[in-house]
C-alpha cells in the first residue's frame, strides 16, 4: 500500500497544516542513522526531539543531523521537574535552532513517570505567550485540558497509559471525554505499544498519535513505522466512515421510529 495517509482530511495544529497524523520520536534507536528511513516509512511531518540528549555546545553533531530538513522538529522537555525547567528547556531549544514547537513534559514522579498537570499548565501559559506552538503532555483530565486551552495550548496530549507500560489505552474513557469536549486537536501520547492501540485511539476520534519506543525498540523499526502508519490511517478512516456502535443492543440501519412520520 503506497497511498498517502490522507489527502483531504487535514489536521491543523496551532494554525499549521499537518499532513500526517502520526508523530514519532528520534530517541532510543540502536543507531540514529536509521531515523531518516523510519521517518520515510512513517510518512511523518513532525518528529520529537529530547533536548536533554542534544549537546548544546555542538547540536549539529548530534542525532539532529539525521533528521531531514523538511520535517518539523518538536523538541520535548523531558527531564523537566518543574514548569520553570520546562520553560528553560523550551527557550534553549529555540536558541539552538529547533524552532518554536515544544512538547511540554513535566514529570516529578520518577517511579510512575506521570506528568504533573499543574506545572504543565503553568509552563504552557508562559510559553504560549512567547509564541511557542505548545503541545502539553498530560494526565487525561478534563479540567486540566480546559485550563490548557485557556493557557494557549495548540493541542492536548493525554497519555494512553504510563510511559513504558505498553498497555494501550487504559485511559480510554477519559480520552473520549476530551475528544468530545475539547476543541483543540487531541494527540494520544504514551502507552501505545502496538499498532492496534494506535488504531483504537484513532477510531474513537483522536486527531493524531505520538509514539516512539514501540518503533525504536522494535527489531525492525522501519517496518514497524510502516505498520503504525497504516494503523493510524485505518483508525482515522474508520472514524470518518462512522464506526458502528459497539453497544450491547443491535441497531437497525433504518430508523425504527420512521413510521411515525409516514
Amino acid at each position: 500500500m503506497h497511498e498517502k495517509m490522507n489527502t483531504t482530511d487535514t489536521l491543523y495544529i496551532g494554525g499549521n497544516e499537518v499532513t500526517s497524523r502520526l508523530i514519532t520520536g528520534s530517541g532510543k534507536y540502536r543507531d540514529d542513522r536509521i531515523i531518516k528511513d523510519v521517518l520515510a516509512a512513517a510518512e511523518c511531518d513532525i518528529i520529537t526531539v529530547a533536548l536533554r540528549r542534544v549537546d548544546l555546545e555542538k547540536p549539529k553533531e548530534t542525532f539532529l543531523q539525521y533528521i531531514p530538513q523538511d520535517k518539523t522538529l518538536l523538541p520535548n522537555t523531558s527531564g523537566a521537574r518543574t514548569a520553570q525547567e520546562a520553560v528553560r528547556i523550551a527557550r534553549l531549544a529555540r536558541e539552538i535552532g529547533c524552532g518554536n514547537w515544544i512538547k511540554i513534559e513535566v514529570i516529578n514522579d520518577q517511579k510512575y513517570l506521570l506528568p504533573d498537570n499543574h506545572e504543565t499548565v503553568v509552563a504552557t501559559e508562559i510559553l504560549a505567550k512567547e509564541d511557542f506552538v505548545v503541545l502539553p503532555y498530560m494526565n487525561a483530565d478534563l479540567s486540566t485540558a480546559r485550563r490548557l486551552v485557556d493557557a494557549g495550548a495548540a493541542a492536548i496530549m493525554p497519555l494512553g497509559s504510563p510511559i513504558g507500560s505498553n498497555r494501550g489505552l487504559k485511559t480510554l474513557e477519559l480520552i473520549k471525554i476530551l475528544i468530545d469536549e475539547v476543541e483543540l486537536p487531541i494527540i494520544v501520547d504514551a502507552g501505545i505499544g502496538r499498532p492496534s492501540h494506535a488504531a483504537q485511539a484513532m477510531e474513537i476520534g483522536a486527531d493524531a498519535i505520538l509514539l516512539n519506543t514501540a518503533i525504536a525498540s522494535s527489531q525492525d523499526p522501519v517496518r514497524m513505522a510502516r505498520a503504525f502508519k497504516h494503523a493510524v490511517w485505518a483508525g482515522r478512516e474508520a472514524f470518518l466512515a462512522g464506526l458502528g456502535d459497539s453497544s450491547e443492543t443491535a441497531r437497525a440501519s433504518s430508523p425504527l421510529t420512521g413510521f411515525l412520520n409516514s
Binding site: K28, R30, D31, T62, E85, Q110, G164, N166, N212
Partner: protein, 371 residues
C-alpha cells in the same frame, strides 16, 4: 518512619528461609505478575530462581527496552584525591596503606578535565578519598567549579557531606547527581570493617541520600559493595532503601549499582563471594522491581561479563576508566581498585553499537536546571 527504622525491621532469618524454601513454581508465579513487589525479591533471589535465570533475563530485557529503548549512557570517573582517614579493610586508599598519596592541584584538574573531555565524555563522576582535612569542602567546591566548565553533567562520589554543603553545591549548579554506597547495610559488619575514621559512623552514611535529596539533588545512585555480607540480605536492604527514596523524594531520579568485590582484593578476601550467575540474578530481579530506575555496571567487571549482562537491564556504563588520581593526564598514582575492563571511550562506543546499543554521551545539561 526513617530508613534506619525500616532497616532495623528487616527479618533476615525470614529472608533466608523464604529463599531456601522457594520452589520453581513459586518463581514462575512471580515472573507472571504484572507488577513485582519487594516481598517477591527473596523468591527472585532464591536458589530455585537460578533455574529460571533465562526467563528472568528475558523479562528484564523486555522491561528495559520499554523504558530505555536501546540506549546506554556513558560516563567516566575522575579521581581528584586519594587522601583518606578511614580504615576500610577492603580499600586500596585506606589510611593504613603505604601508598603514594596525591591530590590534584587546580591546574592539574584543568589538564585532567581537558583530556577526559577530549575523549568525548560529557558526563563525569568526581571522586575523592575521605579526608575532610586534606580534601576540605572549599577544595571540593573549587574543584567542581573548574570541572563544571568542561562537563554538562557532574556527579560526585565523595565522603558524605552535610546537608548545607550539598545545598551549596546544588545551588551553585556544580553537581547534578550523587553516588553513595552504604558498602554494607549490616550495621555490625559495617562497624567491624570501618573501625576508624569518619566513615565509622554508620547512621551518618545511611542518612546521606536523605540529606542530598532534601537539598534537591537531581539524581542519586545507591548500592551495596557485594562481598561484604550475604548478598540476599544486602539486596533486600538496597531494595527497601530504593523504595524509601522513591516514596520520600519522588522527583529524584534513582539509579542502582552492584559493585562486586573480586575474590581477592589486595590483602582482603571477601567472605561472601557473589558469583556471575548471582550478579545476573540480582540485576534482573532489580529490573523487575524497579523498571524505570537506571542500573550501572562497574569496570570492576570484565569486558566479557559487561558485554553479556548489557542487555539484561544495564543503562549506564563507565568507559575510558582510570581509578588513579590524575590517571588520564599525569603519572598515575595507586589505583583504588583494579579495573577489569580497559576499553577506551571509542572502543566502548564501537562495541556498544555492534551489540545493538546506542551509546549516549549527553543525557542532561546543568543549563536546563532551575535551582
Amino acid at each position: 518512619m526513617s530508613f534506619s527504622d525500616i532497616l532495623a525491621s528487616i527479618d533476615k532469618n525470614a529472608i533466608t528461609t523464604r529463599c531456601n524454601n522457594t520452589t520453581i513454581d513459586d518463581v514462575k508465579v512471580v515472573l507472571k505478575k504484572e507488577r513485582v513487589e519487594i516481598a517477591d525479591l527473596p523468591v527472585l533471589l532464591s536458589l530455585a530462581a537460578e533455574e529460571c535465570l533465562e526467563e528472568l533475563a528475558q523479562k528484564s530485557l523486555t522491561l528495559t527496552r520499554r523504558h530505555f529503548g536501546n540506549v546506554v549512557s556513558l560516563f567516566t570517573p575522575f579521581y581528584i584525591s586519594n587522601y583518606c582517614e578511614n580504615r576500610c579493610v577492603y580499600c586500596s586508599f585506606a589510611s593504613q596503606r603505604s601508598i603514594i598519596r596525591k591530590q590534584l592541584t587546580f591546574d592539574q584538574i584543568h589538564r585532567e578535565a581537558t583530556v577526559i573531555s577530549d575523549s568525548g565524555i560529557r558526563h563525569i563522576l568526581v571522586l575523592t578519598g575521605e579526608s575532610p582535612k586534606k580534601t576540605d569542602f572549599s577544595y571540593i567546591h573549587e574543584s567542581l567549579t573548574i570541572i563544571r566548565n568542561y562537563f554538562p553533567a557532574v556527579a560526585i562520589e565523595m565522603y558524605p557531606l552535610a546537608e548545607k554543603e550539598y545545598g551549596a553545591l546544588i545551588n551553585s549548579a556544580l553537581i547534578d547527581s550523587l553516588t553513595i554506597y552504604q558498602e554494607t547495610y549490616n550495621k555490625d559488619r559495617y562497624e567491624s570493617l570501618h573501625q576508624r575514621g569518619p566513615k565509622a559512623n554508620f547512621a551518618y552514611r545511611l542518612d546521606t541520600p536523605d540529606r542530598a535529596c532534601r537539598s534537591q539533588i537531581r539524581s542519586i545512585t545507591i548500592g551495596a559493595l557485594l562481598g561484604l555480607d550475604d548478598f540476599r540480605h544486602e539486596a533486600m536492604s538496597v531494595a527497601l532503601h530504593a523504595q524509601y527514596i522513591q516514596k520520600m523524594y519522588p522527583s529524584v531520579e534513582l539509579s542502582l549499582s552492584f559493585p562486586r568485590l573480586c575474590p581477592q582484593e589486595g590483602d582482603f578476601t571477601p567472605e561472601h563471594i557473589v558469583s556471575d550467575q548471582q550478579l545476573v540474578q540480582l540485576v534482573t530481579a532489580f529490573r523487575l522491581l524497579f523498571p524505570s530506575c537506571g542500573i550501572t555496571m562497574s569496570t570492576r567487571e570484565s569486558q566479557s561479563f559487561r558485554t553479556g549482562i548489557m542487555p539484561l537491564g544495564v543503562t549506564k556504563i563507565s568507559a575510558g576508566v582510570s581509578t588513579a588520581v590524575g590517571g588520564h593526564s599525569t603519572d598515575p598514582s595507586t589505583t583504588q581498585f583494579e579495573i577489569a575492563d580497559h576499553r577506551s571511550v571509542k572502543e566502548m562506543q564501537t562495541d556498544l553499537l555492534s551489540q545493538g546499543f546506542q551509546p549516549v554521551m549527553h543525557d542532561w545539561s546543568q543549563r536546563m536546571s532551575v535551582i
